[in-house]
């Protein structure tokens, strides 16, 4: 999925090919249009922006080559005074400055202003309320993302599920400091600022998992505050949403049951909520369906039982600075709690 130029998307097909080829060629230095590359776009607005980038890059290369070429020429004819061909003509030298320094840039810059800041900007502007099929509330926390689906009980963290080919309005807010939601392949970034309700549009035709990251410095674990957008066909999205809206499933098996007791007994419920149980903590992520997530600690480690146990036992070792305290659990206790949480599908 990562680097393949996805199948055409109507009139936007040429752009897609252009970008895919270009990203493959230009950025293979950078690990081949990596998982967070803005030049491997998977949405219309990301396409527009990457196209804008390729045009600006092209123009820049021309300017740079021209200027450095002139400097090289100056080196080659360092012994002969005057301009090439025309010789000592102060008026022409002045003309060069006015032409290359004022006239040409003026034309280019005014064009760029119209093309990007007046025209292209409308594709990445916030969607007007009510103009989209659905809204998702994403709230930044130090250092994880809370995801809620208005009109549904569903609450999750660090993984935003959206249906493909659907205009989704993401309402980006913060619970503490400034964060910035940035999933480069799908949309421009949007800062999450106290007291503001900022919005961006998510709308991709391609099912897939798109990784993003907090891009405004937000403290110790800023580097480990990643997010994934999971775009899936409408049917499977509906199924996921229905499941996510249900209360947490009961523990299955002995060790899970004792894990369940440890969860409340050792104070995990002080921060975490398990919907439909007495665990009603509101500080950390909702864990009602933890097992349905692919990763832990905001995409720091994969969500396997071993990693989960390790994370529960010593959070700081996995994510330095994280607010999740070390509860002094024994390895065994951590294993039991992990066994329980791994059952929460």
């Amino acid at each position: 999925m990562r680097d393949r130029a996805a199948p055409g998307m109507g009139r936007r097909a040429p752009w897609r090919r252009a970008c895919a080829i270009a990203s493959a060629s230009a950025l293979c230095v950078g690990g081949c249009g990596g998982r967070q590359s803005i030049v491997a776009p998977r949405s219309h607005q990301a396409h527009v922006i990457s196209l804008l980038w390729w045009w600006m890059l092209g123009a820049s290369v021309v300017v740079f080559a021209g200027a450095v070429g002139l400097l090289a020429l100056a080196f080659l004819r360092r012994r002969s005074a005057g301009l090439p061909l025309v010789g000592k003509r102060e008026d022409l030298a002045g003309g060069m400055v006015i032409g290359f320094g004022i006239v040409v840039p003026l034309v280019v810059l005014v064009t760029l202003f119209g093309a990007s800041d007046i025209y292209a900007v409308r594709f990445s502007e916030a969607p007007a309320p009510g103009s989209t099929a659905m809204t998702v509330d994403v709230t930044g926390h130090q250092w994880w993302w809370e995801v809620r689906y208005p009109g549904s009980q569903a609450v999750t963290a660090n993984e935003v599920h959206i249906p493909v080919n659907t205009r989704v309005r993401v309402l980006a807010t913060t619970d503490d400091v400034i964060h910035s939601l940035w999933v480069p392949r799908l949309a421009r970034k949007i800062d999450m600022i106290p007291g503001r309700e900022n919005a961006i549009l998510l709308d991709t035709p391609d099912a897939g998992r798109y990784v993003g990251q907090c891009s405004e410095f937000c403290g110790l674990a800023h580097a480990n505050m990643r997010i994934a957008v999971v775009a899936e066909p409408a049917a499977s999205f509906a199924a996921w949403l229905a499941n996510a809206a249900r209360p947490a499933p009961p523990p299955a098996g002995a060790s899970a049951t004792s894990g369940r007791q440890l969860f409340t007994g050792r104070g995990c419920d002080g921060c975490h909520e398990l919907r439909g149980t007495e665990a009603q903590g509101q500080i950390g992520p909702d864990l009602s369906h933890l097992a349905s997530r692919a990763t832990l600690a905001a995409l720091t480690v994969p969500n396997t039982r071993a990693e989960l146990a390790a994370w529960i036992e010593d959070p700081q070792a996995i994510k330095p600075g994280a607010h999740m305290p070390d509860l002094g659990l024994s390895a065994g206790e951590a294993q039991k709690i992990a066994a329980y949480l791994e059952g929460l599908h």
């Binding site: 230095v29 990596g34 980038w53 810059l109 400091v177 940035w182 110790l220």
Partner: protein, 651 residues
């Protein structure tokens, strides 16, 4: 002067030597008001901070050399990248340019004998030194600022950063701002008032236009930062609510105030570099700058438009497009003054006969880097694209090309260019060129790949990244480049240090330079010029007959002003001789005032407000005593060779 003097001329020079004798030893340096010694103190202090900032940078690059490294804890990493930014901007580039180059060279270039306010010049150095020590005490005690150099609230608020870290930031920058403002005012008044008679605005070296523009930017931009940090400390120490949404404050107030300062700041950093470039190029290209008036304009216009672009740092905060376009438009047009200068430089080099000696090499390197940084800057004025790469490594690449390639390269070129003038000795050319090529390659390898990782989605200020991100190769490359760059910089220092002791004698004018500083001996005497220079163009050293006329006038004792510690002042626009200023000699008050302010700010930091107020009162008394040494008055009598004071208005 190198030329043999007639007995009469020598008598005048002896009088001057007597009138301008400097104290020796440590006390001499402590109490000096000589712009050249103050400039040197600025130079060495900011070089020390440059070393510190460089070490911080190398630690950062080493931590990022591969995925999931553990050289630094997140706490240490946050303090290091914050201190790296603060150091390089407030403790290196500004003092190095306005402080060292401005102090040392502006009076020489305009044919003056000192700055307009010599004692204020000294006090601004001591305050700068104090602020630097203040900030590094924070690092030494493990509570350095750790919220990034632009220190966004609420992360920087008491709630999320309870230690002293941010208080060091707030008071350190207010403290530092006093010094910068004083220096800026001093430079402006010096350029307005102390130009040698005949040096009308259009005959002023472009170097001075650049420093004038930078100084004006400082005067008008710094108050915004001071205000923002005052609010910050009121919030943190007294529980005010300027930035606290819960009580009707707004975090964006900080961002606006900070960037109202922060963007002009970028031009404050780059403008002196323009000035250095425009004084090195004509010398080594053996011709005058093409389009002198446009280059002068470009330098001033950049400073002016720089005040209307700040929101392009905030395109992602969710403002309305119809607000942000105002800033986008200005951000695009501000490119044109830079384009004018770039093509003026290139055309001058192209149509002259360039000698690619070390100083010119650094300037050519600067032009190349500045073009790259300028082009990436244009892309950041395209709102949608900026909203993608904002706060990513693409931006880190952009401003390092502009600040390191654009500002530090000319500074190093300037250090080579004026080394003979300041030290009287010549540096080693071969080693000089080697040091350039090492730094040039190092800069490319360090900063260019940052564009690519930025495009590839790497945010700035992350202390670690995963192997899966695909950023490892480029980051390793960047770190290697950083070591190469460090080697190049060390070679520069080594070259200059060794040449200082062993270099061959340079003479007054080793380059056949174009501006006045090359007219006097190397190093210049305390009074700079035995005779007030005659000026009839912007390239006075290329008007040989004027220099010969000066020799004659010295012989006749015209325009020598040997009666005392004096320098002539002239009218602002046409530089007609206007009055004779008696300059205050050495004074002990400046270092004392600096010390008092240092103690005062430490008390503020520790929230001992009463003691701080008492220390402030002491500082006020020191300033009162300061004025006991009023300069000797002038009678306004005609001065042979200069004319009658005040006659300017008659023409």
């Amino acid at each position: 002067m190198a030329t043999v003097l007639s007995p009469r001329a020598r008598r005048h020079v002896e009088l001057l030597d007597h009138a301008w004798r400097e104290r020796r030893g440590l006390l001499g340096w402590l109490t000096t008001t000589d712009h050249k010694r103050i400039g040197l103190m600025y130079l060495f202090t900011s070089l020390a901070f440059f070393a510190a900032g460089g070490v911080e940078a190398l630690l950062i690059r080493t931590q990022l050399i591969g995925p999931a490294q553990h050289l630094l804890t997140p706490e240490a990493y946050d303090e290091l990248f914050t201190m790296h930014g603060i150091t390089m901007i407030f403790l290196v580039v500004i003092p190095m340019t306005t402080g060292a180059f401005g102090n040392y060279l502006v009076p020489l270039m305009i044919g003056a004998r000192d700055m307009a306010f010599p004692r204020m010049n000294a006090v601004s150095f001591w305050i700068f030194l104090g602020s630097g020590v203040f900030l590094y005490i924070a690092l030494a005690t493990g509570q350095a600022p750790n919220a990034g150099w632009f220190d966004y609230v609420p992360l920087a608020s008491k709630q999320y950063d309870p230690g002293l870290n941010i208080d060091f930031y707030g008071y350190g920058l207010i403290f530092n701002g006093i010094a910068s403002t004083a220096t800026a005012i001093n430079i402006i008044v010096t350029i307005f008032k102390l130009r040698a008679p005949g040096m009308s605005l259009n005959r002023m070296p472009l170097f001075c236009f650049a420093f004038l523009a930078a100084a004006f930017s400082l005067v008008f931009a710094l108050p915004a930062l001071t205000l923002a940090t005052i609010f910050l400390e009121l919030d943190r120490q007294l529980g005010f609510h300027f930035y606290d949404v819960a009580f009707g404050g707004d975090p964006l107030l900080w961002q606006n105030l900070f960037w109202i300062f922060g963007h002009p700041e970028v031009y404050i950093i780059i403008l002196p570099a323009f000035g250095i470039a425009t004084s090195i190029i004509p010398t080594f290209v053996h011709r005058r700058m093409v389009m002198f008036p446009l280059v002068a304009l470009a330098e001033l216009l950049v400073a002016f438009l720089g005040f209307g672009v700040w929101v392009h740092h905030m395109f992602a905060v969710g403002l309305a497009t119809m607000v942000t376009v105002y800033f986008a438009a200005a951000s695009l047009i501000i490119v044109i003054p830079s384009a004018i200068q770039i093509f003026a430089w290139i055309t001058t080099i192209l149509s002259g006969t360039p000698e690619f000696k070390t100083p010119l090499l650094w300037i050519v390197g600067f032009i190349v880097f500045f073009i790259v940084g300028g082009l990436s800057g244009i892309t950041l004025a395209a709102i949608p694209f900026d909203q993608q790469v904002n706060a990513s490594y693409y931006v880190v690449a952009h401003f390092h090309f502009v600040i390191f390639g654009g500002a530090v390269f000319p500074i190093l070129g300037g250090m080579y260019y004026w080394f003979p003038k300041v030290s009287g000795r010549m540096y080693h050319e071969r080693v000089g060129q080697l040091s350039f090529w090492l730094s040039f390659i190092g800069t490319w390898v360090t900063f260019f790949p940052m564009h690519l990782v930025g495009i590839d989605g790497m945010p700035r200020r992350i202390y670690t990244y995963t192997a899966a991100s695909g950023w490892a190769t480029l980051n390793a490359l960047e770190s290697v480049g950083a070591y190469v760059l460090a080697a190049g910089l060390l070679l520069v220092i080594a070259n200059l240090a060794v040449s200082l002791l062993k270099g061959p004698r340079a003479g007054n004018d080793p380059w056949r330079g174009d501006t006045l500083e090359w007219a006097t001996s190397s190093p210049p005497p305390p009074y700079n010029y035995a005779v007030v220079p005659t000026v009839s163009s912007a390239y006075p050293m290329w008007d040989r007959d004027d220099r010969e006329r000066d020799a004659v006038r010295l012989d006749r004792g015209e325009g020598v002003l040997a009666r005392g510690h004096e320098t002539p002042a002239s009218t602002v626009q046409d530089a007609e001789f206007d009055e004779v200023l008696a300059m205050p000699p050495h004074s002990l008050w400046p270092p004392l005032v600096g010390l008092a302010l240092f103690v005062g700010f430490v008390m503020l930091l520790l929230a001992h407000f009463v003691i701080a107020a008492a220390v402030g009162g002491a500082a006020a008394l020191l300033l009162l005593a300061w004025h006991a040494e009023a300069p000797r008055e002038e009678a306004g009598a005609p001065v042979p060779g200069l004319g009658t004071p005040g006659e300017g208005a008659a023409t």
